[in-house]
């Protein structure tokens, strides 16, 4: 028994859609209508469902973690070479570590000895300082005496300068007074010269000169 529409690819496609649950309602209707009339296709669909159950018997072995995220594919030969290198590195690493330990121990001993010597030198310096306790006090007293002498010298100098200024000021006042008297005498002589020529003008001039003299005396 064979389906009359076995060459109908669309119908065969619809049957597969139905078999795998991907058919829309239209495809289901078309297949359903065909299956009502076609015994061959009914048997075929039933057989395919049984086949799918059989195919489900082939299961995967238990999965092992495989992919290293963002890693790279490591060939077997490369992995073996890496293991050999790792073993060599480990051997060299152990011997190197022991050698390094010995070198570090020796260096540590030398550093310890040097530190001990430095501590001794420091102790000697501290002891020498503690044996002369008055030295600092004497220096302070010397500085105090020096400062006192300096102050005394400064005060003396200031006093001398003040006295010298006073003398200079007094001399300047004396010379100014002499000069003022000379000037007034010359003015008086000039006034006497003009005395008989202008009577009223002379009286006026004398009056003005009186003011000038008063003003000069005030200054």
């Amino acid at each position: 028994m064979e389906c009359e529409k076995v060459a109908d690819e669309a119908l065969q496609g619809d049957k597969l859609d139905v078999l795998y649950g991907e058919a829309d309602s239209a495809a289901r209707s078309r297949v359903g209508a065909h299956l009502e009339l076609c015994g061959a296709c009914r048997e075929e669909l039933q057989a395919l469902r049984g086949l799918r159950r059989d195919l489900g018997r082939w299961r995967l072995p238990l999965a092992r973690p495989s992919f290293t995220p963002r890693g790279f594919v490591v060939p077997h030969w490369l992995a073996a070479a890496a293991l050999v290198l790792l073993a060599m590195g480990a051997t060299l690493g152990v011997s190197g570590y022991l050698s390094l330990r010995r070198a570090l121990a020796s260096q540590e001993a030398r550093a310890s000895l040097l530190e001990q010597r430095q501590r001794e030198s420091l102790g000697a310096i501290e002891a020498s300082l503690t044996r002369t306790p008055g030295s600092a006090t004497a220096a302070q007293a010397l500085v105090a005496r020096f400062e006192a002498g300096l102050d005394e010298r400064l005060k003396f100098s200031e006093q001398q300068q003040a006295e010298r200024l006073d003398r200079h000021f007094a001399s300047w006042q004396e010379r100014a007074e002499v000069r003022r008297r000379v000037d007034m005498a010359q003015v008086a002589a000039s006034l006497s010269y003009l005395d008989g020529r202008h009577g009223e003008q002379l009286a006026r001039t004398n009056e003005l000169m009186g003011y000038v003299l008063q003003a000069s005396e005030k200054r």
Partner: protein, 196 residues
């Protein structure tokens, strides 16, 4: 709710490298499973899965998301499997796993051992039947039956029309039924051989 593949791909393309870890975690088992069914070797399947993710990671910047990420990933893995199968033809090899599966089996007959033996024989018959299919049919059967991809996803992964996918699948199923019948597996009724 976790991010979709498309969101994770977008995040990867934007520089969030950790998003790719999520994609790997989501698809690693399925890609490795498909590769195992294509190649029949667990070690090779693991290598293929690694290579597939590596290729995907490197090519992610150029992935335009016109197809689903899973389809693209299956396409990469399928091509890698094809390459390995071609190399096998030029350099025939026998895997230890194949020897183990086809070699003599000594089973202690404890309770249930007989059933387990039958189950194992049936599984082995299915495996042999699938591997006897032409490569094009085998790919479609595996992607549909075991990876449960839709017809559209398979079409994208194999870069063929959906109608081609269905034709290859139908022919593959028919061949499988015939092969299993000759092996003595009687899980279903006989199928007619379709007209070519």
């Amino acid at each position: 709710m976790g991010r979709s593949d498309e969101e994770l791909v977008g995040a990867c393309q934007a520089g969030e490298a950790s998003a790719f870890d999520l994609l790997v975690g989501r698809w690693e088992d399925r890609i490795r499973g498909a590769a195992y069914r294509f190649l029949g070797s667990e070690d090779e399947a693991r290598d293929v899965a690694q290579e597939a993710f590596l290729k995907a990671y490197r090519g992610l910047s150029g992935f335009k998301q016109e197809a689903r990420f899973s389809s693209w990933l299956y396409q990469i893995a399928t091509n890698l499997c094809r390459d390995r199968l071609r190399r096998r033809k030029t350099r025939p090899q026998v895997s230890l796993e194949a020897l183990e599966e086809t070699g003599p089996v000594i089973v202690e007959m404890r309770p249930g051992a007989h059933e387990r033996l039958l189950e194992r024989d049936l599984a082995e018959a299915v495996r042999r039947a699938i591997h006897s299919l032409p490569e094009e049919q085998r790919e479609v059967v595996i992607l549909k039956e075991y990876q449960e991809l839709t017809f559209l996803e398979i079409a994208q992964a194999l870069d063929v029309p959906i109608s081609t996918v269905k034709t290859r699948l139908y022919r593959g199923l028919v061949q499988l039924r015939l092969r299993l019948e000759t092996e003595g597996v009687r899980g279903s009724a006989a199928l007619p051989v379709p007209a070519r």
